[in-house]
């Protein structure tokens, strides 16, 4: 046990502690001495200051947009007699499953230069409908993919709310509107804010959307600026990328710290775990709001996917809209003919399986050790495992480059291992969190029973804990497998000549203007994602039923 704990401690220290520390030290060093030169050199350039400010504005506006859409739609779905609200609840969560960069591509095909709607508008009215390659375009697209963070938070709070509070208000003669304003809203406000702060951090950390939507319009934020510097290929560029990375951690951390303060301060005792049937508001004359929400959901979900499918079937982007302009050959091209995409698909599956397996094993062991023993060492372990949550993928990649390209006499640059290490560091907290949740559901009496019957620690773990923990280990594996399979942010900075991933392949194809092939790849990714999601849902459902029986 002691050996295990020590090994895990070292692994976490090297994997996470070391690279983050190196990154920060590096940012404050110049020619071997402590200095602020990197920062002054970086922030004396206008474009860098601009990208920093833009990142903050982007985070603020996206969280406002996502907060408004998420909270309103959650209320409409959970607390009104909106027609078809159950179906709507499912549809509204779909954007959460779509990788934002793929969604961004869809929106670009629809509202970009020469996009479907813009083209139509141009032929009708002689001007474009909207140029998505702007700051507002990034906010809209990003908000469209991040609002489920607020939606899910608020919807579950609204559904679990203690109805007696609202009933008490009604007894006192308050009207529905007043009840909502004075009782329900204050009760769910913490959930709204907490969701918005998560959106804030995610928006600041996002790479795919600002890259695909922003860069063609010359709108740069920190993540894209960091990439631009790393690709620029100079030593100066690398030092600036490091300084910007630390600045980016700063922005992301603000959101998460505020969120932690909020969730620890506000007491959720009002919201009980009981399943209740809260008061439903009759929309009556305001039914149009419901239709508006339907319209939004359909647009948010179907427009980008439709654009991607359509583009994937196009012989060449820009051909006239005729049956003869369509073909399935883009799919056969990326799946069987083009060696680069074929290889990327194989790579991504391999990396995702390796990363999910290793991460789940380490994460489970960390969760187990932290739970079994409370001492300073495990406390540090717990802390280390939560750090990557606050660190954007772009920064994880920069830290990995600094740490593993020869500085410590180990050179993993250009190999698959630097990518895998980054994936593990990035997603470890998923696994720790999931398994900790699973562990807390196993009552200690079960293990004690085994122990009092004379079983050794290892036997208890094998025969009692592990079988009971199996569902959360599986959940953790899938939770890591899915995002790593289509990962873009980290791999775009770390891939080498032979380690291209699906995300990078799609990104580069669209970047090179090969929209049809990029869309065909994206379609395949979407199909894989949805299939896995359905399988996963079926399995967890069966698990639950099995538990009850």
């Amino acid at each position: 046990m002691k050996g295990l704990k020590f090994t895990l401690f070292i692994i976490l220290l090297i994997l996470i502690g070391l690279s983050v520390t190196l990154l920060i030290i590096e940012s404050f060093t110049d020619k071997g001495k402590i200095s602020l030169n990197n920062y002054t050199m970086t922030f004396s350039r206008r474009s860098n200051i601009r990208s920093f400010e833009r990142t903050i504005y982007l985070a603020i506006f996206t969280s406002l947009f996502a907060g408004f859409v998420g909270a309103t739609s959650a209320w409409l779905v959970a607390r009104t007699n909106l027609p078809g609200r159950r179906i709507l609840r499912t549809i509204l969560v779909v954007p959460f499953m779509v990788p934002p960069f793929i969604g961004a591509m869809g929106w670009m095909f629809f509202l970009g230069r020469g996009g479907y709607l813009n083209k139509l508008w141009m032929s009708l009215f002689g001007r474009e409908f909207y140029d998505i390659h702007t700051f507002s375009g990034i906010v809209l697209v990003l908000g469209m993919y991040l609002y489920p963070l607020v939606f899910l938070n608020v919807a579950s709070a609204l559904e679990k709310m203690d109805p007696s509070l609202e009933e008490a208000a009604r007894m006192c003669g308050a009207k529905v509107g007043r009840i909502m304003k004075d009782i329900s809203l204050p009760l769910v406000l913490p959930s709204i804010l907490s969701g918005m702060l998560l959106v804030f951090a995610s928006a600041a950390a996002n790479f795919g959307v600002p890259a695909i939507i922003g860069m063609p319009g010359r709108v740069y934020v920190l993540t894209t600026k960091i990439m631009s510097y790393l690709y620029g290929g100079t030593i100066t560029g690398l030092r600036r990328a490091v300084a910007l990375s630390v600045a980016l951690i700063g922005v992301a951390v603000i959101g998460l710290i505020l969120n932690n303060i909020l969730t620890s301060k506000s007491k959720f005792t009002i919201i009980t775990g009981k399943y209740t049937r809260p008061l439903l508001v009759d929309l009556k004359g305001a039914r149009w709001i419901g239709y508006l929400l339907w319209a939004f959901a359909i647009i948010a979900v179907f427009v980008p996917m439709f654009s991607i499918f359509l583009t994937a079937l196009w012989k060449a982007w820009g051909l006239p809209f005729k049956l003869s302009s369509f073909t399935f050959s883009n799919f056969t091209y990326v799946l069987f003919k083009y060696s680069e995409t074929k290889r990327a698909i194989a790579n991504s599956f391999l990396y995702a399986i390796i990363a999910a397996t290793i991460t789940t094993i380490i994460g489970a062991l960390v969760a187990y050790t932290v739970k079994k023993q409370r001492d300073p060492m495990t406390k540090i372990m717990e802390f280390l495992s939560t750090i990557p949550q606050a660190i954007p993928g772009t920064v994880v990649a920069v830290a990995m480059i600094l740490t593993w390209s020869g500085k410590l006499k180990i050179n993993l640059y250009n190999t698959v291992w630097i990518i895998i290490l980054a994936y593990i560091a990035r997603y470890l907290f998923f696994s720790v969190r999931t398994v900790t949740g699973g562990l807390s559901q196993i009552h200690s009496s079960l293990e004690e029973a085994a122990r009092s019957s004379g079983a050794k620690e290892l036997r208890v773990a094998r025969d009692i804990t592990f079988p009971l923990l199996w569902p959360s280990l599986f959940a953790s594996w899938v939770l890591i497998f899915m995002p790593t399979l289509r990962e873009l942010t980290i791999s775009i900075l770390l891939y080498g000549p032979h380690t291209k991933t699906i995300g990078v392949a799609i990104y580069e194809l669209q970047d090179a203007g090969e929209y049809e092939a990029a869309s065909a790849m994206a379609t395949i990714v979407l199909i894989i994602t949805f299939t896995l999601q359905v399988i996963m849902n079926a399995i967890t459902k069966r698990k639950k039923r099995g538990d009850l029986a």
Binding site: S47, G114, Y231
Partner: protein, 325 residues
């Protein structure tokens, strides 16, 4: 018995892999994939014992990769062939290149080569003004570089970013020498879109997304041959001719094979392959692509001081980023 048989098979297998194992030369390049693949195929036909492994990306990305590899002390590339000549000056100064001369290289005019024989310009590429012929008539298209700042083309021009494209860095260096930074500011004000590569710029003009683009001459010739509605001009206010060099790293363990690859590209056959892909050759005994008047082209070309370019590269990139990002 069975064991013995297996053992023999194993030995035979081992021997055969030794006997047939090929030397692998790793080439880092910014030459478009299809072109470099065709060179690889022809080269491997002549040298069946050598396999060329290719890493292809934009010049800057290749430089970024190499910079990291150089600092980490493990260079995976044997041969380099990109569009940014200033990086070769840097590599030469760092003492990372092999000094090489051969019969074939002697046939290349001296003006394309490093005087000390550390790198060899084996491909001439020229940034030009391309335009979509469906949207613009020849007389309405820009004739000079300075025309790109004309309000007529506002928000309708696309060009590669010098942060990614080596040839565009050289182009920008020439432009700022002739017109100063005012020209670049005016480009920014005119809403010029920047993209990551000359191929994208070409594609965007061909598809009509943009009326005008700055891209490489051979890409336009290629697109025209394939029937795209595009044409181009070598601007009247001066040609930018970028000599894209090739060099061998002295860290390479397969220098003999690497030299063979360089010789092949410099040979008549290699240069003819380039011409097939509409690229201007550097050999005088190879006929350039149809319609190219070599002497006239080089006459009006900007003089390029590689050392100065190398010293100014960072400043150019920084200033450009401030104006465009």
């Amino acid at each position: 018995m069975l064991k013995k048989g297996l053992f023999v098979i194993l030995i035979v297998l081992l021997l055969s892999t030794v006997a047939f194992s090929k030397t692998t030369v790793t080439l880092y390049t910014s030459v478009p994939k299809l072109i470099v693949e065709s060179i690889k195929a022809e080269f491997e036909k002549v040298n069946p014992d050598i396999e060329v492994s290719i890493y292809r990306s934009g010049s800057s990305k290749v430089v970024a990769k190499l910079t990291t590899e150089i600092t980490s002390g493990r260079i995976s590339a044997d041969v380099l062939w990109i569009a940014d000549p200033s990086f070769f000056v840097y590599l030469k100064e760092k003492g990372l290149l092999v000094q090489y001369n051969s019969e074939v290289l002697k046939e290349i005019p001296a003006k394309f080569k490093d005087p000390d024989n550390y790198f060899f310009g084996l491909r001439a590429i020229a940034p030009v003004i391309a335009y979509n012929t469906n949207i613009l008539k020849a007389e309405d298209a820009p004739k000079k570089w300075i025309d790109l700042t004309d309000k007529k083309f506002k928000k309708n021009i696309i060009m590669p970013s010098p942060l990614y494209s080596g040839s565009n860095l050289v182009w920008l260096y020439c432009m700022t020498k002739k017109y100063g930074w005012k020209f670049v500011e005016d480009l920014s004000k005119n809403g010029v879109t920047v993209c990551n590569s000359n191929s994208i710029a070409m594609k965007s003009v061909a598809s009509g997304s943009y009326k005008v683009g700055v891209t490489l001459d051979y890409k336009v010739r290629d697109a025209m041959k394939k029937g795209s509605p595009v044409n181009f001009v070598y601007p009247e206010d001066g040609n930018v001719i970028v000599i894209s060099p090739m060099a061998i790293f002295n860290t390479s363990k397969v220098q003999d094979a690497a030299k063979k690859l360089v010789d092949f590209v410099a040979s008549k056959k290699g240069q003819e392959l380039l011409v097939k892909n509409n690229i201007i050759p550097v050999r005088t005994d190879v006929t350039p692509p149809a319609g190219v008047n070599l002497s006239k082209l080089f006459e009006s070309a900007f003089p390029i001081d590689l050392v100065e370019l190398r010293n100014k590269a960072q400043e150019i990139k920084d200033k450009f980023a401030d104006l465009f990002e």
